[in-house]
């Protein structure tokens, strides 16, 4: 006793999609109130890991615990446990289209709180508040499918933030956003919950890493290859190159070509 309270504890996780292994012998712990980045190139297993943390996938072997309670199909069959977990943990999917299935933006954002059986007046208040906060009140009567990519992303985010989850899981939250929207989103996430919430972000964008995370897990081919603070990860050029998070950028200076490691940002 005496150490920080563990939010998630993963021990020896294996997960396969039919013939393809997504996660191999993955063990990690995430403490309450920390902001974590899951780094890795496409196909490294970040999205699968997020779904395991959200109790949507269950590992083929190994165990995953949330605040000491194991996440298993049997436990989720218990309404009280499932209800409490969904209230505490929210996941924003990478593709907002799969997350938007209601007739209007207002209904979409209200869907989660209604499922969690919050009083209707509270649902209305919460939806109005989050639409204002994300500056999308003008979209409330629009059909979600007819929105632009950036607007869809904001609505998808609002539909999860409205639950005010203690743990926010984000899958590539800034993909498909223009630079201004990216910056607004990062500001929102930095301020989210006054820093008291746990935010776990899967990304391969190193540009805002130090703003969104206190700690990084680097994944490669479904395995955990590094765990360090953002500054250390960003300094480790060899690690970034090995895990395809940077690439050699070749260009012409005067009459000669030269190359250097390149990321979307200026850390390396």
């Amino acid at each position: 006793m005496g150490g920080p309270l563990m939010l998630f504890e993963l021990d020896g996780i294996y997960y396969r999609y039919q013939r393809q292994t997504a996660l191999t012998d993955l063990s990690l712990t995430i403490a309450e109130g920390t902001r974590v980045a899951l780094l890795g190139a496409n196909g490294s297993g970040k999205s699968t890991l997020l779904r395991i943390l959200d109790g949507l996938y269950f590992p083929d072997s190994g165990s995953v615990r949330f605040r000491g309670r194991e996440l298993t199909e049997q436990n989720f069959a218990d309404d009280a446990f499932a209800h409490e977990f969904r209230r505490q943990v929210g996941l924003v999917f990478q593709n907002p289209d799969v997350q938007l299935f209601n007739p209007t933006v207002f209904d979409e954002v209200a869907f989660g709180p209604l499922q969690l059986r919050l009083p209707r007046s509270e649902v209305r208040d919460r939806v109005g508040e989050i639409l204002d906060r994300l500056r999308i009140t003008h979209l409330k009567d629009r059909i979600p499918h007819r929105l632009s990519g950036g607007e869809k992303k904001r609505v998808a985010l609002a539909s999860v933030l409205v639950l005010d989850p203690a743990v926010l899981l984000l899958d590539e939250p800034t993909s498909a956003l223009d630079p201004r929207s990216q910056s607004q989103l990062i500001d929102l996430l930095v301020d989210w919950g006054g820093g008291a919430k746990s935010v776990i972000t899967a990304t391969h964008d190193l540009g805002d890493l130090e703003d969104i995370a206190d700690r990084c897990f680097v994944l490669d081919g479904g395995q955990l290859v590094a765990e360090a603070p953002p500054a250390d990860v960003l300094r480790d050029a060899d690690l970034l190159r090995r895990t395809n998070l940077v690439h050699a950028h070749r260009h012409r200076h005067g009459g000669e070509f030269h190359s250097h490691p390149h990321v979307h940002g200026d850390e390396v």
């Binding site: 209230r87 929210g90 299935f101 209601n102 209200a110 869907f111 969690l116 059909i143």
Partner: protein, 277 residues
């Protein structure tokens, strides 16, 4: 989406997908109409579901054409006073007539009975009984389709689902209905983008064989995507606490007008069943 200039000949599959997309988009548009103020829109969804289903049942059981026709006229009258645009309803009438007609037309010639007209070249007889059978089939389908439109176009989809649950329709059916509606549109968008992307990389006119081969391979890819997409949509609903039950912001409450409407629906359905017996 449909009617874009420059569509290639023979792109039957693409044309079909675009038409389906348009039809689904019209239904999405119907969501906004269902929130308008009109007679049916103001009624409790449970009353509409029970009352309109009773009308469908009365039309299906009626053995007299004039009774079915009277129910259809009533349904059209209700559509009018509920401010449903004709442009939304007419395509459904045409589709129902086309599909039912394809089934009903052979009955005109194949049903034995007294001959009304002889078709000389093919040596077929149009029989009175055949015409009657076709008329019953078409009128019942048109009437039922119109009544279903009344329900779907004047009631938000989530309210229909909640009303179904109140009438003890199994959760699994309500979940499938709830997901499929949104998911079909997403799938059609994907299919349409696939064809656009292919068109942008195709030079000249493809032979019939090549077009068929491409169509078959596209269907294969779409089925795979459909499977993946349906899983993703379900996970996204599940992640936000969906367990099969439907909860909506609107609270269902029966007012005097709802009880009156329920009584009227019941009386008319009962009267039609008695007259059509």
């Amino acid at each position: 989406m449909s009617g874009r200039p420059g569509r290639r000949f023979g792109s039957f599959l693409q044309h079909t997908i675009e038409s389906l997309y348009d039809a689904t988009s019209r239904v999405m548009y119907a969501e906004s109409i269902s929130r308008d103020t009109g007679l049916l829109q103001s009624l409790d969804p449970r009353v509409k579901l029970a009352g309109l289903l009773a009308w469908i049942l009365a039309a299906a059981l009626s053995a007299k054409l004039w009774v079915i026709a009277a129910i259809l006229v009533l349904a059209v009258f209700l559509a009018g006073i509920s401010r449903l645009p004709l442009a939304l309803v007419a395509p459904v009438w045409v589709s129902a007539l086309t599909f039912t007609g394809a089934i009903a037309v052979p009955a005109i010639f194949l049903t034995p009975g007294s001959s009304l007209y002889h078709v000389p070249i093919v040596d077929w007889n149009v029989t009175r009984q055949g015409l009657t059978t076709a008329a019953y089939l078409i009128s019942r389908v048109e009437t039922s389709a119109t009544i279903v439109l009344l329900l779907v176009f004047t009631t938000p989809w989530t309210h229909v689902l909640k009303a179904l649950r109140i009438f003890r329709v199994p959760i699994v059916l309500v979940v499938v209905l709830g997901m499929s509606f949104r998911y079909i549109l997403l799938l059609l968008e994907t299919a349409s983008e696939m064809f656009e992307s292919r068109q942008s990389r195709t030079v000249g006119k493809l032979s019939g064989d090549d077009q068929r081969r491409l169509a078959v391979s596209s269907v294969g890819v779409l089925i795979t995507k459909a499977y993946q997409l349906s899983g993703e949509v379900f996970l996204a609903m599940h992640s936000r606490g969906f367990r099969g039950e439907v909860y909506v912001l609107h609270e269902f409450r029966m007012y005097r007008r709802d009880w009156t409407a329920l009584a009227l629906f019941g009386a008319l359905a009962g009267g039609a069943a008695w007259a059509g017996h």
